[in-house]
């Protein structure tokens, strides 16, 4: 398992020993691992607590919507958070992009649930911001934003083009 920070450093190691600044960078990567594991465990262990209130809010906000569609949207974002957690753990945005987002974006567009998915992602965002510590949130936030940019904003642009 290799994430981008290690990869970059290892390419440099082909030429020479790490200099002091490379070693400091390596140490910083290793040091952040503890917090990443802690954050990952929190997300894993609290999956239902994070999503059940969001599911309940969704049913309230869209009372006439087919529950299967609401479930589809929820499953999309259950996936998103799982893959964001993994990408955060190894600090690799490409993991999130290639393993999930590139595949999921067309699926989300085809289901055409923009209002539901937007509502869901906004609630997820604010829920996690409250539940996680500031340093945990700082680690996870860029990956959530990456997911939002792909699944929500790209979908909005695609719909406008249509």
């Amino acid at each position: 398992m290799m994430h981008s920070d290690f990869r970059t450093l290892l390419y440099r190691a082909e030429i020479a020993y790490f200099d002091s600044s490379d070693l400091d960078q390596f140490r910083a990567v290793v040091d952040s691992a503890r917090l990443r594991v802690q954050t990952y465990k929190h997300l894993r262990d609290h999956e239902v607590e994070i999503f059940q209130p969001i599911a309940d809010q969704l049913v309230t906000a869209f009372p006439t919507e087919d529950s299967e569609l609401l479930e589809s949207a929820l499953k999309h974002w259950l996936s998103v958070l799982r893959y964001c957690a993994m990408a955060m753990l190894i600090n690799d945005p490409d993991f999130l992009k290639y393993r999930l987002l590139e595949w999921l974006v067309d699926v989300v567009q085809a289901y055409d649930l923009e209002a539901i998915e937007t509502h869901l992602s906004e609630n997820l965002y604010s829920s996690l911001q409250q539940q996680l510590t500031e340093s945990q949130w700082e680690l996870l936030c860029p990956f959530l934003q990456q997911a939002e940019a792909t699944l929500i904003h790209q979908t909005q642009t695609a719909n406008v083009t249509r």
Binding site: E47, V48, F51, Q52, A55, D56, L58, V59, S67, L70, E71, L74, K75, L78, S79, R82, Y83, D94, F95, Y98, R99, L100, E102, W103, L104, D106, V107, A110, Y111
Partner: protein, 220 residues
Amino acid sequence: MISVEALRNEPLPGNYFAPDVYLQGDYELGLLENRSGDRLIAVPEILLEAIREGLEEEVGPSSGLVMFQCGRWWAKNFYRRFGEDVSNYYGKPLADMAMVELIQCIKHCWKTHGWGVIDLDMSYNQQGFLVVTIRNSPFSATEVQDNLSMNFTEAGILSAFFSQLTGRDLHCAQTSCESMGAEVNHFVLGIAERLQSTEALVKGGLDHDTIMERLCIADQ
């Protein structure tokens, strides 16, 4: 009331064909494999080109047919493996998958194998045609004659693959070619009798959209 506890126990898969996990192998043994253990090899473009040219030299005008049949034979087997692998990963038979998910699998399968970017155009479905576009195709086209440049191998592959997928006997004809300056390769899939005029239309220098108009009118 939606139960998240129930939802989270359903499979929530991602992209089966994500390159970092799909492409595997045992470097020590010189083996490149996909995640199901099927062997893959990296074939240089120039070797594909050499095979095509060698075939043309040996069998002349029949080379197109030979390459078409090669494409068909290979794709029939490939489709079977594709079907098994995708069904196993996504936990349901292909027939039960949502169309958009299945199309995503096909697109990402093509991309990860380095066969270019494939897209499906459903706008002629009502008239009984499926249009496939491929950008950055790895297969080189045969310069037949008179404006006609065809990628026979690829046409054969698409014919067999989509025949299996749809359960219908679909022929495939190419209506635009990257090697002739088009932006993408266009392929049209349909029943063989309805595609008979395609070659003549391409030779006549017509573009893909015009050819599709003529094919749709011809049936009325």
